[in-house]
């Protein structure tokens, strides 16, 4: 035990503050399985936390939140691959908040290795550190971790369930389990006799699972193929139940208007709202008001009819003031050094480049506005909410109404988009606050689109100061400083609902995640330094698809492009040379995208290519964007994408995530911007916070590679290279380098 405990302690230390306090539990707790939260009952047998056998078939539990990324399908395929059930006979459910559903991959990502150089020992350590998530019951869908988390665990869950079913069937038939085969939900004896999983499920549930070996990938039936999504048919027939669609007996409809300045109210006058017909009540919510009504539309009209005098914001109340707050962070010492190879600050002979970049705040703007339904009774609270973190919702709602977490039931539905926004518990807490005022009455709270925009946890605005040196066609030095609020540190410090105080915002610590897309790139540059200055702002910011890499990738790769041009080199060859000795899979994606786009062929006048590359979430992605000038406006005509995900579990779904992630990044790059006046977001709906539409969306060509030794993320990796690839193409077209997003400030688009 002594030696194991020592390793455990060291693991926790490198795992940093996220798991502090967990040491006392010792190592034993890590390996002891978490209790199965699923109860067996009449006609419904749970073999482990992920497999339920019912009379109708097999239900697989995917505690990962389905926000469109296809996780329910691939998670189920991991289990089904070993369990031997027919794809068309399975049902997939989300399951309750429970310790068994901890995310083992999330903490492993915070370790200070060069992620792309991870070796077997580091991989083991990454998995070991991930066990800290179990102790904290952190059931989180995010960080593109689902497949890294589930790849081994879920195949084991399927295999152990299969083996106990075989043992139960063997007892019944008087045969050794090894003599039996399994296929399509049946145990099959050599003489042809069959028992269905249903037949033996009750006995199987009492058998201790044996140790199992996972099948060789060459025998896979589902994994590695493009499966039909388990949620597709419900989603195209209108049957899919998002939390905004929850219907309960006697339900009332509510909307809220909370402070857009994230402070309280001085006073409010609800007389006009109370005079409207169909109103059931106006509730003082402390930093805002809620209206309960006969339908959602009336509630939304009524909250806007309340006259409210808001307290001013604690943060600077204009965009200019907020950007000054960010710039001022450069004056303090850096909080984080993400990489420091060589002597980046020394004088190196060659051509020096200096540049400043900036990006704006962004909204998530999920298609389904924030909503939650709550039912409060004397001793229980039920919450229905599409969310990325049910255990956080459970504890935050329990705290709100003064219950123990066990008294709060959270039903997680599919989500109409998440992009990081639905990791926040705020809307569920608001629903709980309203429901507590109406015991016994289910309350469906739906935000207007305007409320959704003004109460977002924004992707932080950020600035970068870049210095580079090139000599004789080679990169000599790159020295990078970022200034931005820290998403990780702030989301840990602030309560589920604002106000967020100046004291809480005075964050200490470091944040390598905020340097993603820059400090972790697989390049050999002799002098390569990346540092971060954390901005202590009270403006609420949050996780947004690709998080730090969403801006770090833009800053870093755009500047690499500048260095390539200054060095007189081809931008694609320049990147390939830097990656050559550092990371072969990255070289291959760059070469692939060059071949796909016919990179070196000349383009006609008014047409140009740009390449972008970002390694993020364990996967290198290269994109080439083709832009075309049409009557003075620019069209994004085509994007070629090459990505290496290590093991492509579902190529069709990965292609969808890569193109979707790229479009998400292109939309932000072309037109995404949240600005502030009087402490409030100025954008309010899709007419002033739009995204690319069908007519402006490019054509795509995607290649998925599998050269990396470990499975990589998928859901976010398409986003970071999109903005730099577009900016680099715009430079190639026009000779103009735009260093500030969105690009529509500098260029006209169709």
């Amino acid at each position: 035990m002594g030696r194991v405990a020592k390793i455990a302690r060291r693991t926790f230390l490198v795992g940093s503050a996220a798991v502090a306090g967990g040491v006392a539990f010792g190592v034993y707790k890590f390996v002891e399985p978490a209790p199965n939260p699923l109860n067996s009952s009449e006609g419904r047998i749970s073999l482990n936390a992920f497999v339920i056998i019912t009379e109708d078939g097999v239900t697989l539990v995917s505690p990962k939140a389905e926000m469109g990324q296809g996780v329910h399908t691939t998670w189920a395929a991991l289990i089904a691959e070993e369990l031997d059930v027919d794809w068309k006979d399975i049902t997939v459910i989300h399951g309750p908040p429970a310790k068994a559903y901890y995310n083992s991959a999330l903490f492993g990502m915070a370790l200070p290795f060069k992620d792309y150089k991870v070796n077997d020992f580091q991989q083991a350590m990454r998995e070991f550190a991930g066990n800290g998530a179990k102790l904290l019951s952190l059931q989180m869908t995010g960080g593109s971790t689902s497949m890294r988390d589930g790849f081994e665990r879920m195949r084991l869950a399927g295999a152990t369930a299969r083996e106990v079913l075989k043992r139960a069937a063997g007892k019944r038939l008087g045969l050794a389990p090894d003599a039996l085969e399994t296929r399509d939900g049946q145990v099959i004896a050599p003489d042809g006799r069959t028992l269905s999983y249903q037949d033996v499920a009750v006995e199987a549930a009492d058998i201790n699972p044996p140790s199992v070996e996972l099948r060789d990938p060459s025998t896979w039936r589902y994994l590695g193929t493009s499966l039909p999504r388990v949620d597709m048919e419900d989603k195209i027939t209108g049957k899919a139940m998002y939390s905004i669609d929850v219907v309960l007996e006697g339900m009332k409809f509510a909307s809220v208007r909370m402070s857009p300045r994230r402070q309280g109210m001085r006073r409010f006058d609800a007389s006009a709202a109370k005079a409207m017909s169909g109103i059931d009540g106006v509730i003082d919510m402390g930093e805002g008001i809620a209206v309960i009504a006969d339908n959602t539309w009336i509630a939304m009209q009524a909250v806007e009819a309340v006259d409210i005098d808001w307290e001013p914001s604690l943060y600077p109340d204009t965009t200019a003031g907020l950007m000054q707050e960010i710039e001022a962070a450069f004056d303090a010492a850096p909080n984080t050094v993400g990489r420091d190879d060589g002597t980046a600050d020394a004088d190196h002979p060659g051509q020096e480049l200096l540049a400043e970049y900036s990006v704006p705040y962004l909204a998530h703007a999920t298609m389904e506005p924030m909503n939650a339904t709550a039912l409060f009774t004397d001793d229980a609270l039920s919450i229905w909410c599409g969310n990325q973190s049910p255990t956080s919702i459970q504890s935050a709602c329990a705290q709100e109404v003064g219950f123990e977490p066990e008294q709060v039931t959270v039903t997680t539905t599919v989500m109409g988009g998440g992009f990081g926004r639905r990791g926040e518990a705020d809307v569920a807490v608001l629903a709980a606050r309203i429901a507590k005022k109406r015991p016994g009455v289910p309350i469906k709270l739906t935000w207007s689109r305007e409320e959704d925009m003004r109460r977002d946890f924004y992707r932080p605005a950020a600035m970068a100061r870049m210095r580079g040196v090139v000599n004789a066609g080679q990169p000599v030095a790159v020295d990078v400083s970022f200034a931005a609020s820290s998403v990780i540190l702030q989301s840990r410090a602030r309560p589920a609902l604002t106000p967020f105080t100046v004291e809480q915002a005075a964050l200490s610590g470091s944040d390598p995640e905020g340097l993603s897309g820059a400090h972790d790139q697989p390049y050999q540059i002799p002098n390569y330094r990346v540092r971060g200055h954390i901005v202590p702002s009270t403006l609420p910011i949050g996780y947004w698809r690709a998080v730090g890499a969403s801006f770090g990738g833009f800053f870093f790769d755009s500047f690499i492009d500048e260095m390539a041009h200054a060095a007189g080199r081809d931008p694609l060859a320049f990147r390939i040379d830097m990656a050559r000795e550092e990371h072969a899979p990255s070289v291959r994606v760059l070469e692939a995208v060059g071949e796909m786009s016919n990179w070196s062929a000349a383009r006609s006048a008014g047409r140009a290519l740009g390449v972008g590359f970002t390694y993020s979430f364990g996967s290198p992605v290269a994109q080439v964007v083709e832009v075309v000038e049409e009557d003075g406006a620019i069209r994004i005509a085509k994007v070629w994408i090459a990505a290496d995900v290590g093991i492509a579990l579902d190529p069709g779904n990965i292609e969808a995530q890569l193109t979707g992630g790229c479009l998400f990044g292109l939309s932000a790059a072309v037109m995404g911007e949240v600005t502030f006046r009087d402490g409030e977001a100025e954008q309010s709906n899709f007419y002033d916070y739009d995204a690319l539409r069908m007519g402006a969306a490019p054509a795509f060509d995607v290649q998925i590679l599998e050269n990396a030794p470990y499975i990589g993320g998928v859901g976010e990796i398409g986003t970071p290279p999109a903005a730099p690839a577009l900016g680099n193409a715009l430079f190639a077209l026009s000779g103009k380098r735009a260093r500030t997003l969105p690009f529509n400030q500098s260029f006209s688009f169709v």
């Binding site: 959602t296 506005p369 109409g416």
Partner: protein, 154 residues
């Protein structure tokens, strides 16, 4: 006072005020939640339904002004038999989060009833009012071409 409507072939009566947008009558009063709320101001297309076969934004259509039979996503298929548009949507595995897809399909079905062989430019023009934040446009475009071919072949 009530408003009489025909929705997916059913005669229904709404007790909501006539200025209530059709969207909220469908969702909150009739429980037909397949039609989605996205923006409330007719700029995202998530709430698209058919009135006498024509695509309309139900969030900006007062229920008292509805002049014709309403079809929602729940009525696009013929019982368990999917429509050509829905079949193509499954074949191309279009949906990611799926929230906008009811509106996308209602818009696409309306396009195809007016124009049995739309070009890419026709599709862009007809579908530009339907926002998708997951970025499923390439598959939507492919699915519309597939559905058009299937309908032409009858």
């Amino acid at each position: 006072m009530t408003v009489k409507l025909v929705v997916n072939g059913d005669a229904l009566e709404s007790a909501s005020a006539p200025d209530t947008p059709l969207l909220w009558v469908l969702r909150d009063e009739f429980g037909l939640t397949g039609t989605k709320f996205g923006c409330g101001v007719a700029v995202c297309g998530a709430c698209t339904v058919h009135v006498d076969g024509e695509a309309m934004r139900s969030c900006q259509l007062p229920v008292g002004d509805v002049d014709g039979a309403v079809t929602t996503i729940e009525g696009l298929s013929d019982g368990e038999t999917l429509s050509a548009v829905q079949t193509a949507w499954v074949a191309h595995q279009v949906a990611q989060c799926g929230y906008c897809q009811a509106g996308q399909q209602m818009q696409a079905a309306s396009l195809l009833s007016d124009n049995p062989q739309p070009t890419d430019a026709d599709i862009s023009a007809a579908m530009n009012g339907n926002l998708c934040r997951c970025g499923t446009y390439p598959r939507i475009r492919a699915a519309i071409h597939t559905a058009a071919a299937a309908l032409r072949e009858g």
